[in-house]
């Protein structure tokens, strides 16, 4: 399965931006996402799924069934937009609460063994420092989720990112 997480609005012609990706599961902002409460219930109450049962409560299980994840996000201070970050914050059930050492750093143990290729496309006006931060953030997230980062691209506006992911 291929998953697209994006923060594009209808007026941004979201469909056109991702139509070339074909059959994908789309995670978009329907205005109902609840913020992560930091309760760790997705690890110790309902392991593998978020205790908040809105439309974004099964992100960890969804990631376990996919082979490619595409993230399209406005670049905010070198990171993701609040919606995309919220989705990621609600996804930590994808990993196990236990720790392991990887290249001398502590990370969470894998819960699932699937291989995922991550592509990130940021849009919006950015500074050089923000682009450097964004590349670092994308790599760190890939490392922590045990994914392979296939690429990070930037576009000044949404039209620029059409075709940047494939």
């Amino acid at each position: 399965m291929r998953v697209v997480i994006h923060d594009l609005k209808d007026e941004d012609s979201a469909g056109k931006v991702i139509e070339h990706l074909g059959d994908v599961h789309v995670i978009a902002d329907d205005g109902t996402i609840h913020r992560c409460l930091g309760c760790f219930g997705c690890w110790t109450k309902t392991p593998g799924v978020c205790v908040i049962r809105d439309a974004y409560g099964d992100m960890g299980a969804l990631f376990s069934k996919c082979s490619e994840v595409f993230i399209i996000s406005k670049c905010c201070y070198g990171g993701f937009s609040p919606f995309v970050k919220n989705v990621l914050d609600r996804s930590i059930s994808y990993v196990h609460p236990y720790f392991v050492n990887k290249d001398g750093e502590m990370h969470h143990k894998r819960r699932y063994k699937n291989h995922v290729r991550l592509q990130v496309s940021f849009y919006g006006e950015t500074t050089e420092q923000e682009r450097e931060t964004a590349k670092g953030v994308a790599q760190s997230i890939a490392t922590n989720l045990w994914w392979d980062l296939a690429g990070v691209s930037f576009g000044d506006d949404i039209a620029d990112i059409r075709g940047a992911i494939s």
Partner: protein, 211 residues
């Protein structure tokens, strides 16, 4: 000097970020600074909070590292605050303390970079940040005082921060970890997860459940 402390943890109580700011408050008071503490647990910036912040001399954020970055609700608040700050005359210095559940404080480097980038956008001055590893030690009902046992490095870092605020110093980010062995932190953390699972009526092996 008027200083505003912002706890960016979504937890209503017993957050490591709250504990860090509780440690910092008396250090700021000993430097004769007036400080007020705000907790931002949701995505909407309170109007009164925004007014207070616009009038302060220094802003100190403390928040947990969420998926290598700033928690989404806090990011929302920062975007709203950027709008407010961009339109006023001010001379505000910003510091940030990011606590990581991981052992290594440097895993907070990208979250601190984002805070620095936010400062540029909001046209306020970046002081520096502290990345604290093994922040899990501070969470819950842990009552270990500052400067004692695992909190010795944190004590040094917070004292430096209080002096830096007084002297309006900007510096390189500081990455520290608790004075506690990595292996014991790992084992203690895992014991804690099993204890929490059992308290929720689960077995330890349920922690590995696949969906």
């Amino acid at each position: 000097m008027k200083i505003t402390l912002i706890n960016g943890s979504p937890k209503p109580s017993q957050s490591a970020s709250g504990r860090i700011l509780q440690f910092l408050q008396p250090l700021l008071e000993s430097e004769r600074h007036e400080n007020t503490l705000h907790a931002w647990r949701g995505p909407d910036l309170d109007s009164q909070d925004a007014l207070d912040l616009c009038e302060c001399d220094a802003l100190i954020f403390a928040f947990p590292l969420y998926v290598d970055g700033i928690p989404s609700h806090l990011l929302n608040c920062l975007m709203q605050l950027e709008e407010r700050l961009a339109h006023i005359e001010k001379d505000i210095k910003v510091y940030a303390i990011v606590n990581c559940g991981f052992y290594e404080g440097h895993q907070a480097r990208w979250a601190l970079a984002m805070m620095e980038n936010w400062c540029h956008r909001a046209q306020v001055q970046w002081g520096y940040g502290i990345g604290l590893g093994a922040g899990g030690i501070l969470a819950g009902d842990n009552a270990i005082p500052l400067d004692v046992g695992p909190n010795r490095n944190l004590g040094q870092a917070l004292r430096k921060l209080a002096h830096s605020v007084t002297n309006r110093v900007s510096d390189q980010n500081l990455f520290i970890t608790a004075n506690f062995p990595k292996l014991l932190y790992k084992l203690g953390g895992e014991m804690g997860w099993r204890k929490n699972a059992r308290a929720n009526g689960l077995r330890a092996r349920d922690l590995s459940m696949k969906r």
